[in-house]
Subunit: 235 residues, 2 copies
Amino acid sequence: MKELHTTTLADQAEEKIIGYIKENHLVPGDALPNEMQFSEMMGISRNVVREAMSRLRMLGLIESRTKRGIIVTEPPLLNGFKKVLDPQLLSIETIKDMMGMRIALEVGITDFIFTNITDNDIKELYEIVARQKALGINSLSAEDEIKFHLKIYQIAGNQFILKFQELMHPIFSFSEQNHENYFKPISQRLKKENKIVTHADILEFIKKGDREGYRKAISMHLQPYLEFLYNYQHK
Amino acid sequence: MKELHTTTLADQAEEKIIGYIKENHLVPGDALPNEMQFSEMMGISRNVVREAMSRLRMLGLIESRTKRGIIVTEPPLLNGFKKVLDPQLLSIETIKDMMGMRIALEVGITDFIFTNITDNDIKELYEIVARQKALGINSLSAEDEIKFHLKIYQIAGNQFILKFQELMHPIFSFSEQNHENYFKPISQRLKKENKIVTHADILEFIKKGDREGYRKAISMHLQPYLEFLYNYQHK
DNA sequence: TCACTACATTTGTCCTACAAATAGGTATTA
DNA sequence: TAATACCTATTTGTAGGACAAATGTAGTGA
């Protein structure tokens, strides 16, 4: 774990401020020393302290207001994660890993879904599926595709997972478009082999209360991603 | 989604630099304009640009070296996530959500495990379990508890999930300690009802190649967390 | 051609200054 | 006395200048 590039004073200041919060057991709402005090405590310029503070402010660990000073806040967990999710910047390997995570999550929330689901949820799912069917099997709009899965995640009732999934989604749609000539043959083959699992199929398992069936169905539904992550070779 | 506090110039600069990377389709290795150029482009002082750069550098989106300038890098996805994972700062609701995620992930990677596992992996798991047994059922050391699950995640072969799990783990052990008087009764009750699923039990399902059995077993093994997240009421 | 040197550029750090916001105290008034 | 209006001191946000350190680059000499 050694540093490739020398750590700057801003890096050190950041660590010390985080350390200060932990050591003094500060909790959201508590005040931090102001910039000048940190500057003097560490023997560095205020500019550098500000760089560190700016980082923590971006992560949502602190908020600062004129005169009032700086206060600790409960950080939104995924502030930083959101900013680095640019498909242009991520390697294929990383995107594969994210697809794996998506599959694991969507299969893994099965029990939560069956625990939490209400009749009204099922009704809403039927509406989404009906709208898709009305548009015809071939014009499966991306919008309704998203809506169905989004609803599934909402039913699971875990805000963290929901947010996480929403953030990852653009990566997948980008990848599907970018590797269209890879995904299309997979879909066509599955169709020929009659292995396509539609949202309507999945919904039936939910209605019947068949967890194992649902798990297998959602897994098959995500099969294209699975094949991508196991088989795709970068040029 | 409206802003509670006025966005600072540093916030805007950060957005613009990220925007610059996206619009110009920069990829890791490409160079960015230097600080003065950004400063002039945006009509703001170099200090502010540096604050924004400092944030991006922390996230791992860029690296900068004297004279060479600033280059785009492939960001480690979880740099920011890691820094906000302080159990002292997170609400019970957030921690519950994280536990839910942990359960979903560990159940959800079942298929990956059974796809990837080798005889050698099984052997290693047996060694971990044997060491636990040798120490006696009551002195189930936290270390071996961690090792078993860590090995499971390694077998799944997804670096992102592995890293994610490693980062979340301290939150769980903190929570177990912090709410010890909540977790202990659950364990005792499960023991009385003979519903304790040990690592040895789990391992048997792996050996037999019984996915469904494994899924149920790992789920039962994580039952205390599940009960916590469903039942725990904050004072 | 190659090694060495000098130079120019760019980041990292420090300093000073001031505007804007505002908490907290003070004076004023009903 | 109590409520209100005003003042002042403090603190963040922003600007701009300065210089050290690092290092690519060009130029020099063998």
